[in-house]
């Protein structure tokens, strides 16, 4: 925390003197390393080191924000002056602030170690590829006008792109996406994902169209719940779930929570971008609608005591919005075979490429790259890409009791965009059987 907390406090406190006023300063230092891989070789290396600082004032629905791309005392003075001028307050004198010391920073983390690991992993499992590896280290300090400053750092690992898989119908290009917080066990997890992604497959048939029952397996149900629960329950969102507090919406077995404290997942954090430590928030408790995700302003408007730590900003220049983090679905007791047997006829889906929800109408859409047809409770034909669509309330009602007994972290889910702000998210879910969704082929 190179800025002196006492100085920041002294300068920012006057902005939050009146009742109902809040103010804070967010400082971000971001270091990003990117390696572009082509068939086992690194063809380009990219490093970026950036910093930014934003000062914010808010009272009720009024908000002012000033951001600069430096994180030293000069930047702090500049942002606060801009804020004070727009608020008509006495502004800090123009004076050159103390610049950051020129001390040598730590080298970019782990780049060489990961380059060697990836070279070996890719050579064994996906030798022909076009992949982009990214390691981002984001360190954020939040100085609230009232309260102690907090700091946290996250290192996020992503491997995305495509590779050529040898398949029974010849070579085929498959997309690949894997996200996780950097840890010692991540390389092994990545290996397992690569092996699974490269498995030989039959030639896909065109996906049937119409109403379909489906098992969402391998953790990909997290994407469904991210769209139909996390987004509609972001405080302030108007959706079919508005005004349904405590209503029974799904089977009693279904318990879904948003858990930013799960630091083993991509969307986890120790404190949000308003300096609040997050709490796990039950979105659906025993099938009943439970809590909403809040930031400080929304919590105040809702008459709650405090934010539950979901005020998130994509960049310091963005305002903190109530956003989801890690979507976690509690496990049931069914085995994979039981799930397939209960499905009978339908689709077995293990991957979603993307998802979207239109909050006003509650309609959602999930795009899958492939699926398996299930006939008489057994996995049958390989199917091509398609979309699953439905509406929030009917979809929740049609989730069957008897969830899978094992939770799977869904590492393909990594980023979520709302209003142009992209934040890290992830999820973990057991296999889920849902009936009556509309499927369309994209072949």
């Amino acid at each position: 925390m190179p800025l002196d907390p006492a100085t920041v406090a002294r300068w920012i406190e006057p902005l939050a003197k009146e009742p109902g006023e809040m103010a804070d300063v967010l400082v971000e230092r971001r270091r990003e390393a990117v390696l572009l891989w082509r068939d086992g070789e690194v063809v380009e290396t990219r490093l970026a080191s950036t910093e930014a600082l934003a000062a914010r004032w808010q009272r009720g629905g009024q908000q002012r924000l000033a951001a600069v791309s430096r994180a030293d005392e000069s930047g702090l003075r500049e942002a606060l002056r801009e804020l004070q001028v727009t608020l008509g307050r006495t502004s800090l004198p123009i004076r050159e602030g103390k610049a950051l010391s020129e001390e040598e920073e730590e080298p970019h983390p782990s780049v060489d170690r990961w380059r060697k690991r990836l070279a070996a992993l890719l050579a064994r499992n996906a030798p022909r590829h076009k992949l982009r590896w990214t390691l981002v280290e984001v360190a954020r300090d939040v100085f609230p006008a009232r309260g102690a400053p907090v700091s946290h750092t996250r290192r996020l690992f992503s491997l995305e792109g495509s590779f050529i898989a040898a398949s029974r119908r010849g070579d085929e290009t498959r997309t690949f996406s894997f996200h996780g917080p950097e840890s010692d066990s991540l390389a092994e997890e990545l290996r397992v994902w690569l092996v699974r992604a490269a498995e030989p497959r039959e030639a896909p048939m065109t996906c049937p169209e119409g109403e379909v029952d489906a098992v969402l397996a391998g953790g990909c149900a997290a994407v469904l719940f991210h769209e139909i629960l996390s987004h509609p329950l972001e405080a302030g969102a108007i959706s079919p779930l508005s005004g349904l507090a405590d209503a029974r919406l799904a089977v009693a077995e279904l318990e879904v929570r948003d858990d930013a404290t799960r630091l083993d997942l991509f969307g986890g954090y120790e404190c949000d971008d308003e300096g609040v430590r997050p709490r796990p928030v039950k979105l659906l408790d025993g099938g009943r609608l439970a809590a909403r995700l809040t930031n400080r302003a929304c919590a105040a408007r809702m008459g709650r005591e405090a934010s539950n730590g979901h005020g998130r900003r994509a960049e310091p220049a963005d305002p903190p919005l109530p956003r989801g983090s890690n979507l976690v679905v509690a496990v049931g007791s069914a085995t994979r075979e039981e799930m397939a047997r209960r499905l009978g006829q339908g689709l077995w889906i293990e991957d979603f490429e993307s998802g979207s929800v239109e909050l006003s109408s509650g309609s959602f859409r999930l795009r899958f790259p492939r699926a398996r047809r299930v006939r008489r409770g057994r996995l049958a034909d390989e199917l091509g890409p398609g979309t699953l669509a439905g509406e929030i309330l009917p979809a929740l009602k049609r989730i069957e009791t008897g969830l899978g007994r094992q939770a799977h972290i869904y590492r393909s889910l990594g980023w979520c965009a709302r209003g142009g702000q992209v934040v890290a998210v992830q999820g973990s879910a057991p296999d889920v059987l849902i009936r009556g969704l509309a499927v369309r082929s994209l072949a």
Binding site: V42, T45, Q62, A66, P319
Partner: protein, 416 residues
């Protein structure tokens, strides 16, 4: 430390094979949503360096000192050799615009009134955010290039919701105003997208003419962009003309900036000339691979990422534009696609497209009634060959670079 000093560091490391990019951006934004109002200001500075030693390297930082520290670290990782581009040359350092940046206009109430009027009270404006931005960019390179330029742009985002009984539908629109704010056009887009799907009527026309709103035509053109900024050849593009002979597709970024993100001078490039595929768009790297010259299409989305090959201002062009009313009047039986309800899918490899849209059924040049949801899909090559006319109402949409669409008439399209 300055860009020149960074250049000296790079010359020692990669003689004759480096480039430095510098950017200073300021923006002001007003965002309104119901009773909430946010005013933001932002000032961003950054530098980026690219060099070949002989592997391709890139480093970016918020200031020159930090960049100087990042450069040796970026050179540490082992990489395979890359091809050094043919650097552009020249000097152009016009005086940059200075002075405080004015805040964008607060037009929430006016747009809310227009959306309500346009939708006959069925839709209301939820959110509007308008950003006024100004950027000064500079590129210097190992061949002595030193050019700088400044750009100003007004962009934004609006959302509206349409309601009918218990049903609701949301509309979202990104916009870009090159001149005065065009609020009526934005209100129409929001109103149509928010209210037409509420009719829940399916298409009464299974096959007929397809009239595309400029926003839908622009989405189609954006989907075609990889044809013009890619290296490969697709079987369906090699069979002669891809569009009728009176229609061309042009990319011309000169209206936005005199240079691209690599310092190459902007120019007009006809990528489809009278129906046939013409020149390709190149940045320095692709030009080097193709043995051609860069066409000024090295686009930088941020100083934190290297330039990429992309169109800068793509649009349809014709010698004989038809007024939109005449185009509508010429429709015997078909659908007017007013807005897309899902991202338009263009699979260039397999020559397929799919568009899900909302609009209006048209018979004998007159609107028959709204169509809540319809889908057109089939071969992209057929769709393009069946374009019969282009209107004069060209508008540009951020995708994210500006793409110009005009009302487009296509014959013999199947709907479901």
């Amino acid at each position: 430390m300055t860009a020149e000093r960074i250049g000296e560091l790079l010359e020692a490391r990669a003689p004759g094979a480096w480039e430095v990019y510098q950017k200073e951006g300021t923006s002001r934004e007003i965002a309104r949503s119901g009773a909430e109002r946010r005013e933001s200001s932002r000032r961003e500075e950054g530098l980026a360096a690219r060099w070949w030693d002989p592997a391709a390297r890139f480093a970016a930082a918020g200031n020159a000192e930090e960049l100087a520290r990042a450069i040796p670290r970026a050179a540490e990782a082992a990489s395979s050799p890359g091809e050094v581009p043919q650097w552009p040359r020249g000097t152009a350092r016009p005086a940059a615009e200075t002075g405080p940046l004015e805040p964008p206009p607060d037009v929430f109430e006016e747009l809310a009134r227009l959306v309500s009027a346009e939708s006959r009270g069925q839709a209301s404006l939820l959110e509007l955010s308008v950003r006024q931005g100004r950027t000064v960019e500079r590129v210097v390179n190992a061949a002595g290039l030193d050019v700088s330029w400044s750009t100003s742009v007004e962009t934004g985002f609006a959302a509206a919701v349409g309601r009918h009984g218990t049903r609701a539908c949301e509309a979202r629109a990104l916009f870009r105003w090159d001149q005065e704010p065009d609020l009526p056009a934005l209100a129409r887009r929001l109103s149509d997208r928010a209210t037409l799907p509420l009719s829940e009527k399916s298409t009464p026309v299974e096959r007929g003419e397809w009239l595309l709103d400029p926003s839908v035509a622009a989405a189609l053109l954006a989907g075609l962009a990889p044809l013009f900024a890619g290296d490969g050849h697709l079987p369906w593009t090699g069979r002669g003309a891809i569009l009728p002979p009176d229609i061309s597709i042009v990319d011309d970024g000169t209206a936005d900036a005199p240079f691209d993100g690599e310092g190459t001078r902007s120019r007009r490039v006809v990528v489809v000339e009278r129906g046939a595929l013409g020149a390709r768009l190149h940045d320095l790297a692709s030009a080097r691979r193709a043995g051609a010259a860069s066409t000024g299409h090295g686009v930088r989305r941020s100083y934190r990422t290297p330039p990429c090959r992309a169109p800068r201002r793509l649009f349809f062009e014709t010698d004989q534009p038809v007024p939109p009313r005449e185009l509508l009047a010429s429709v015997r039986r078909g659908l007017f696609a007013s807005a897309l309800t899902a991202p338009l899918s263009c699979d260039l490899e397999s020559d397929r497209y799919e568009a899900q849209f909302t609009g209006v059924a048209v018979v004998a040049g007159r609107a028959l009634g709204p169509v809540g949801a319809a889908r057109a899909r089939g071969r992209l090559s057929e769709l393009l060959r069946r374009v019969t006319a282009l209107s004069s109402d060209r508008q540009f949409f951020p995708m994210p670079d500006p793409v110009g669409g005009a009302t487009l008439l296509v014959e013999r399209v199947s709907f479901d």
